[in-house]
């Protein structure tokens, strides 16, 4: 047993490659046999990943899903920010500048619209649940932007830990729902070309959600959505503790 653990922990990234490989194979097998290709294999793989993450969080009490299980620690590295960003940038290989220019203006508008709309929705829900102080309302609204904007805003405004935790949870719900929901609604919202993918990335903003949602819909759209999504969190962190907070505190 000790030998087993030593080898797995020492080679954790390699173990992650093998485990994810098996999950991919299983998911594509299921997509093919059970759904006759109607559900994308990568959508099933991402759903299985999220389920595993839930199980990991429940059994270990940690915050990085299945990566907190000692033998699977390498998944934390493989799925961490560094590898994710590296692979996202690589998807831009083969993209034509002209496609990016076509959606340029709509892309920029969508980033602003996305941050502001998500904030308003989140803040309105906070009010609905009985919050009346501007700091808490702003922090929860910022959490609905992304789970990074929430705590950054909350820290800047001096929100309580409980409110910051809530804002992170709201952002996580958003991110997970975008991962699962995107392939389901893609057709009805016209998400089938580079331009709408750029608008989609700007509106949703959660890099993980957009990255996984588009991967499960059509991998060719990934670079376009990811391109705009990466500006979203920055804009949210800029607007949250400043303009958006001033507006909320003028009302409350």
């Amino acid at each position: 047993m000790d030998i087993f653990e030593t080898v797995f922990v020492r080679n954790n990234l390699i173990v992650a490659f093998a485990v994810i490989g098996v999950i991919m194979w299983l998911s594509y097998f299921l997509a093919d046999k059970l759904t006759a290709g109607r559900i994308h294999g990568s959508a099933i793989a991402i759903a299985l990943g999220l389920l595993a993450a839930y199980w990991g969080g429940l059994t270990t009490g940690g915050s990085t899903g299945v990566a907190d299980v000692a033998l699977l620690g390498g998944i934390g590295l493989m799925g961490g920010g560094m590898m994710r960003d590296f692979a996202i940038v690589a998807t831009a290989f083969g993209v034509h500048l002209s496609e990016l220019k076509k959606a340029g203006i709509a892309g920029v508008i969508s980033i602003f619209a996305g941050v502001i709309v998500s904030f308003i929705v989140g803040a309105a829900v906070a009010v609905m649940f009985g919050y009346t102080d501007a700091v808490a309302i702003t922090t929860i609204g910022a959490g609905a932007v992304t789970y990074i904007v929430g705590p950054v805003t909350g820290d800047a405004l001096g929100a309580t830990d409980a409110v910051i935790t809530l804002s992170v949870a709201a952002g996580l719900v958003k991110s997970i729902l975008v991962m699962i929901g995107t392939p389901l609604v893609a057709k009805s919202i016209g998400l089938d070309n580079p331009q709408s993918a750029m608008v989609f990335g700007g509106l949703m903003g959660t890099t993980s959600g957009v990255a996984a949602g588009l991967a499960a819909t059509d991998p060719k759209l990934v670079p376009y959505g990811a391109m705009t999504a990466t500006f979203y969190t920055g804009l949210g962190c800029l607007l949250g503790p400043s303009i958006l907070f001033f507006i909320v505190s003028a009302i409350y």
């Binding site: 990568s42 991402i46 299985l48 990943g49 595993a52 993450a53 839930y54 990991g56 969080g57 915050s63 899903g65 990566a67 934390g76 493989m78 799925g79 961490g80 994710r84 960003d85 590296f86 692979a87 996202i88 940038v89 690589a90 998807t91 831009a92 290989f93 083969g94 990016l100 709509a106 508008i109 969508s110 709309v117 989140g122 906070a126 904007v149 935790t165 949870a169 709201a170 996580l172 719900v173 958003k174 997970i176 729902l177 991962m179 929901g181 609604v185 919202i189 016209g190 998400l191 509106l203 890099t207 996984a212 991967a215 990934v222 990811a226 990466t230 500006f231 969190t233 920055g234 800029l238």
Partner: protein, 125 residues
């Protein structure tokens, strides 16, 4: 050599991230502003420029394509390390706020995509 493509990709990411961090400092924001997006722009420009052709074609190009193809497995690993338990523990408020934000944003996609298209159509006139 395959490493040339990988190195080009790495340099794009590092320079993009440096610019993104600097933008964050400039704007007084505790976040990387668009680092990945800027890095992607560099790679798009490099792969469309003759000067960098030797780093993007042939075996060197395979080094970039490999990481591009690893994207989905990496995203699956990313899904497996999300804090799903915390999202579910967040209770009703977090759930309603997250779901409502996604639903409204989904609904706006066709609306804003139309702005993009009408701009393009007006362009040549």
């Amino acid at each position: 050599m395959i490493i040339y493509g990988v190195a080009l990709l790495s340099v794009c990411l590092i320079v993009g991230m440096l610019i993104g961090e600097s933008l964050g400092v400039l704007l007084n924001v505790d976040a990387n502003v668009g680092g990945v997006g800027i890095a992607m722009l560099f790679l798009v420009i490099a792969s469309n420029t003759d000067k960098f052709k030797s780093l993007c074609t042939g075996i060197a190009g395979e080094g970039i394509k490999f990481w591009s193809a690893m994207y989905i497995p990496i995203v699956v690993a990313m899904a497996a390390r999300q804090n799903v338990a915390a999202a579910i523990d967040g209770g009703l408020l977090a759930l309603v706020a997250g779901v409502a934000a996604v639903v409204v944003s989904f609904a706006l996609v066709p609306l804003l995509s139309r702005i993009g298209r009408s701009n393009v159509e007006k362009g040549p006139l």
